[in-house]
Symmetry: C2
Subunit: 124 residues, 2 copies
């Protein structure tokens, strides 16, 4: 079976079992508890491959790290520029389409980011 390896499976499992948006290094640290001798390069290689095959999504928020998301359902990512949190927001397909209906642009599933301040940081 093409692309199969226990390393790839462990990485995909890790992303499916958590609800945050870990970086490659964070995935590496977690998966190491299952496969202690896995290498960081392998994690990067499999994450890139999983993104390309559409099994996971990558999220760029501009904090210097690429983040990965095992949840492929349609949602926005709110990124707090103050505390760095990445918050999932379910929105109706129609709503986002309504906003970005501009010269034929088609939003891609799930990889939208809105920058701002989260509730906690706003209060400070």
């Amino acid at each position: 079976m093409a692309n199969y390896s226990k390393q790839r499976e462990a990485i995909l499992n890790e992303l499916h079992s958590r609800c945050d948006h870990p970086t490659a290094a964070q995935v590496y640290e977690s998966v190491r508890q299952v496969i202690p001798n896995i290498s960081l390069g392998t994690v990067y290689r499999n994450l890139a491959s999983l993104v390309e095959s559409g099994e996971i999504l990558s999220v760029t928020v501009g904090d210097g790290y690429e983040h990965y998301d095992g949840d492929k359902s349609f949602h926005l990512h709110l990124h707090c520029k103050c505390c760095g949190a990445i918050i999932d927001t379910k929105v109706q397909d129609e709503k986002i389409k309504n906003i970005v209906d501009f010269d034929g642009f088609t939003p891609e599933n799930s990889v939208c980011v809105v920058y701002g301040l989260c509730k906690n940081c706003k209060l400070q």
Copy 2:
């Protein structure tokens, strides 16, 4: 006057006179035609300082470069994952607030990115 230098002014002028979202290297190339011996480090330093002081905005789209925007008015950035274009979209404040009204999150002016496919790439 704190922060003033002809280099800083040339960088700000460059960003105000163009309508795209250049990278640091692109700003460097343009400003070099005005100040030939300016260094790339100075461009990076001033861009960071201008972002911090709110005179320009930085836009992260995940193409490996930070982009800079001299237009501070409220707008979304549509990023085509296929051709790399960054397209400005004016939206009403109300509309975007309506979408991201989630647990008190406050969108920050002008630094929102929506990923997808532009008209041209969609047709291919």
